[in-house]
């Protein structure tokens, strides 16, 4: 199917005898915004780590853009076009906000070692280009005034936004967001969701989103996968999911 951007087939991951993820089958079509939900410890972040090459699947195959990405290193997968954010923020904390974003342009910069140490050729042109692009991205995420600040000095919500800005700088086709709204207040969360919807259109992105906050996922995702104990127990549109008895039992249980 030409429309499939990411496809995982029978993926499982075993850590020392413990199955973190098993028989994982799912696909994401180009341009979709997909939610991945499930209770704590259901294997959501493990799924991200499998897609991004941090972990290697014990069995099964993951195809991106029609080609298998199993066995590739995380940086190679990023260069193929998958970028991510982290649940426990991993910014380059002693560097400025601007530098954080510039680093993510890393493999799009076209000058060599000699050009950089002797300041020749494309160095200045390229540096100007990425500076401009980085500032543009910061503007989208309302961080342009904080470009020179150290990342560690940003307020929490701004750090989360910076993580997304940084991931976008790698110019991905598929963006993986690991609980982007964790720790945000409802107002911030709402703004963030609008922003995610907007960047998807603006950058022509496909997005896979892990989220805890059900209402939020229901609001913007087109399709949802529900994980429990490392297995997909349900999938479908937000409306399907809401009425799925399995999901209500496993996830909504107390809340519904």
């Amino acid at each position: 199917m030409a429309n499939e951007l990411l496809k995982a087939t029978d993926v499982s991951e075993v850590f020392g005898g413990l199955k973190a993820v098993s028989d994982f089958n799912f696909h994401i079509n180009k341009g979709e915004l997909i939610g991945l939900i499930g209770p704590n410890g259901a294997g959501k972040t493990t799924a991200f780590n499998l897609i991004t090459g941090v972990y290697q699947p014990t069995t099964g195959d993951i195809k991106f853009d029609g080609k298998s990405i199993v066995g590739l290193k995380p940086y190679q997968i990023t260069q193929r076009g998958i970028a991510r954010t982290f649940q426990n923020i991993r910014l380059f904390s002693e560097l400025s906000v601007l530098e954080n974003v510039k680093i993510a342009f890393h493999f799009h910069v076209k000058y060599g070692l000699l050009e950089s140490v002797f300041r020749m050729g494309r160095y200045f042109k390229e540096e100007e280009r990425i500076e401009e692009e980085a500032r543009k991205l910061l503007k989208i995420f309302h961080l342009e005034d904080k470009a020179e600040e150290l990342a560690k000095n940003l307020p929490y919500g701004a750090q989360r936004r910076l993580e997304i800005a940084r991931a976008l700088a790698a110019k991905p086709k598929l963006l993986l967001l690991d609980e982007p709204a964790a720790g945000m207040n409802p107002q911030e969360t709402k703004e963030l969701m609008e922003m995610i919807a907007w960047i998807r259109k603006e950058f022509g992105l496909t997005i896979l989103l892990i989220e805890h906050d059900m209402s939020l996922v229901m609001g913007i995702c087109e399709r949802i996968y529900v994980l429990e104990y490392g297995m997909i127990i349900a999938q479908g549109t937000p409306a399907d999911i809401k009425n799925d008895p399995e999901v209500i039992r496993a996830y909504l249980g107390g809340e519904a």
Binding site: T52, V54, K73, P74, Y75, T78, Q79, A83, R84, F86, R90, L91, F92, S93, E94, L95, E99, K102, I103, A104, F105, H106, F107, V109, Y111, L113, S116, V117, F118, R119, Y123, F124, E126, E127, E128, E131, R166, A167, A169, A170
Partner: protein, 316 residues
């Protein structure tokens, strides 16, 4: 960007004036031969410190074997000048290339290690290099290599030091350098931003080792005799101390650290035990009260005073 270029020009102008003054003091015999030698050693130590800073400070990899690479550069250099009568420049270059190549070979397997393990592995490698040299009769073994021509003079040291400083400064402020900084800050995030972390760690390690090799060549040609004992891990500690004292991740700091350490040891040379006791206490107190070193991550070109004096263009 223009601001950066302007800074370079200011620094270059400043360096040339400094060179003229110091060279004048040497030619006019104002400095005793003891201080002349120490001036050479300061320059060499600056190359050592700044190249180690690239590895330890900017890339965040803990190397404790820098003296080993210096030894390789020194011995390759002296063999080429003394036994093969090749020009000094060729010997220095060959020493740098040899040390860099060894750094590359060693770096690939060892840089997978982290933190303390890497520290102790590089320390061990530095010692292995020294022991191997000690067992090569061709270069005089443990007794040392005698009859080295006295090629190193202030101009060689100064301009190679300047080259090293600009090289590493430009490297750090580039896409390559940013990749190294990212590795230091968070290796997992760096990798997920598309940075081939192994490649850049090895690159920083190789460049650092190559400059240590050049510094070794300069060092060896200051003396008539060089022995493997000049390159023990105590020397590696010394360079580490210069870097930490000045600030991991600051070129200005490495210069200051090399300067302070070299001159304090020179000034206290007549009281060797006291020198080391003071040195030890200074080190401990520095870690207590200013663990980020004298300059932290700061560079002189980013400081208020510098900007006030030379400001016009502003940023960008």
């Amino acid at each position: 960007m223009k601001y950066l270029r302007k800074n370079d020009c200011i620094m270059l102008g400043f360096a040339i004036v400094l060179f003229a003054v110091l060279q004048g003091l040497i030619t006019g015999r104002v400095l005793s031969s003891f201080w002349q030698l120490n001036l050479l050693i300061v320059g060499i130590n600056i190359i050592m410190a700044v190249s180690l800073n690239l590895i330890n400070g900017y890339t965040g990899q803990f190397s404790l074997g820098h003296a080993g690479f210096m030894a390789v550069g020194a011995y390759v250099g002296i063999v080429l000048t003394t036994n093969f009568h090749l020009p000094f420049a060729v010997a220095l270059l060959a020493g740098g290339v040899a040390a860099g190549f060894l750094g590359f070979l060693i770096g690939i397997p060892t840089l997978r290690l982290r933190g303390d393990y890497l520290a102790i592995a590089t320390l061990g490698l530095g010692e292995i290099i020294r022991v191997v040299i000690m067992n090569i009769d061709y270069v005089g073994g443990a007794a040392g290599f005698k009859g080295i021509p006295h090629h190193t003079n202030f101009a060689w040291v100064f301009f190679l030091m300047l080259f090293a400083l600009f090289f590493i400064k430009n490297f750090v402020n580039s896409n390559h350098g940013r990749a190294c900084l990212a590795i230091r800050e968070n290796e997992i995030a760096a990798e997920s931003m598309g940075v081939n972390t192994t490649k850049f760690k090895v690159m920083a390690f190789t460049i650092g080792a190559a400059f240590a090799g050049v510094a070794g060549g300069l060092f060896a040609h200051c003396f008539y005799l060089v022995s493997p004992n000049s390159f023990t891990f105590m020397q590696s500690f010394n360079y580490l101390i210069m870097v930490v004292m000045g600030g991991l991740g600051s070129i200005t700091g490495s210069i200051a650290g090399a300067f302070v350490v070299t001159f304090i040891s020179a000034a206290l040379a007549s009281w060797p035990e006291f020198r080391m006791i003071i040195y030890a206490l200074a080190l401990i107190l520095l870690m207590f009260y200013r663990p980020q070193g004298l300059f932290g991550y700061m560079e002189v070109t980013n400081m208020g005073i510098f900007r006030k004096i030379f400001k016009k263009g502003g940023r960008n």
